[in-house]
Symmetry: C2
Subunit: 249 residues, 2 copies
């Protein structure tokens, strides 16, 4: 059956997922690669939405699939030139931080592209969790999901009501908390990355005062030129790969 | 005098700068920070364009300034919420590669945000030039300029008609050319960054076959997880900062 009406109940439910407040339990992913990866990674796929006329070169007969008209599909899509494939995925509920060598916590990061890129970089380093403060951009927004290139399926997002309490608790449990700051005294290259939590702040303002005022070490990436700050996802990538470098050497 | 007509000759000239083909000699920058940096960095500022009602907290009396109506300004701006400041800057002509420890060459990079971020990262490492192939996205597009956060004023862009010839020449002149490739054999951590040119490819396809087939070493960032590739600006940042790490240690 081809759905063409914007008043269709299923379509209305899908459209709601464009807003954060309706993404408590599930979220929308878009594109062939994202759907393929969702299947490969055994995600809980609630529904696949295809644009009329789209043929997939892989099997989706195990899933619930609906087909909608091109016009209707375009109202659901988040991109300028849609591939004609969307899926509704159930979130994995994960509130517990697993024991690890290396953790990244985000304190108010705002750019969806940066967040998605950080999740992608973490996954490339086999770090499968990320801690985010309440005021960090939503990990399940379409642009974040896109920028993860599928890594969202493998990285658990742990949202914390109080990043401060979470960091204090991690510290009690044997982690050293390291706060990135442009005026940090310790270089990221002078750290042994073992049982560390790295805190990354907001693009414009850095780590919040509440967190910065905690009695934890401030670290910085040593810079040689006139540009005084790096893009947040690049800075995070540089620190994650310093961890990787030490791990493999 | 307040300009309100879209048919004003100056306004028409400014608007042309939105298209690459008219940016041979000059380009447009937007926002307070970009204008301030242009002044600080002694750029050749041909014209400053202010939205009616905008007051600057710094002196621009040495420059040619025009004021335009809000509606007209919005047609010139490239952003959703303009600050009301634009400037026309003359390009610095630079065709010669200066002798350096470390060079980055881009082979068909397409995302303006990635390019701007790479220029910003280079500047932070005090690397003041970048080599770009003809088919790399235009360094002077508004989105690239924005992402450089002002670093564009300090990094010379050297566009080459034949990246292949440029790399072969650099090699003859004592540089080792290192090509990033997902199937590279040598780790970026097993390299002594002295007289090196790093080639970064297109986001989707990597370095072009023409360049990859040259007899130069292929290098890769060792990855530990399932994500097999990094965002291009993150990957470039990781390599640039491995150079920095070695330089300062």
């Amino acid at each position: 059956m081809l759905i063409s009406s914007k008043d269709n109940e299923i379509v209305k439910e899908i459209k709601k997922l464009k807003e954060k407040k309706f993404r408590k339990e599930k979220y929308l992913v878009e594109g062939l690669k994202m759907l393929k990866e969702a299947i490969n990674e055994n995600q809980d796929i609630e529904l696949i939405i295809l644009k009329d006329g789209i043929n997939l070169d892989f099997d989706v007969s195990n899933y619930k699939v609906i087909t909608v008209t091109e016009n209707l599909f375009n109202t659901l899509s988040d991109v300028v030139t849609p591939q004609g494939v969307l899926a509704v995925i159930k979130k994995k509920v994960c509130e517990k931080i697993n024991d690890a060598d290396f953790l990244v916590a985000l304190d108010g990061l705002q750019d969806p592209g940066n967040l998605g890129t950080i999740i992608r970089t973490l996954d490339s380093a086999n770090i499968n969790q990320i801690i985010v403060s309440k005021n960090t951009v939503d990990c399940y927004s379409p642009k974040v999901i896109r920028s993860t290139m599928g890594a969202i399926y493998r990285v658990n997002v742990i949202e914390t009501d109080s990043l401060k309490d979470t960091l204090i608790n991690l510290n009690k449990n044997g982690y050293e908390v390291l706060i990135t700051a442009l005026d940090g005294k310790k270089s990221i290259y002078d750290i042994d990355y073992n049982k560390k939590v790295i805190v990354i702040g907001n693009e414009a303002n850095g780590v919040s005062d509440e967190i910065k005022n905690l009695d934890f070490t401030k670290i910085k990436i040593p810079m040689l030129g006139k540009t005084e700050s790096l893009n947040a996802s690049v800075a995070t990538g540089i620190i994650i790969y310093e961890y990787v470098r030490q791990k493999i050497k």
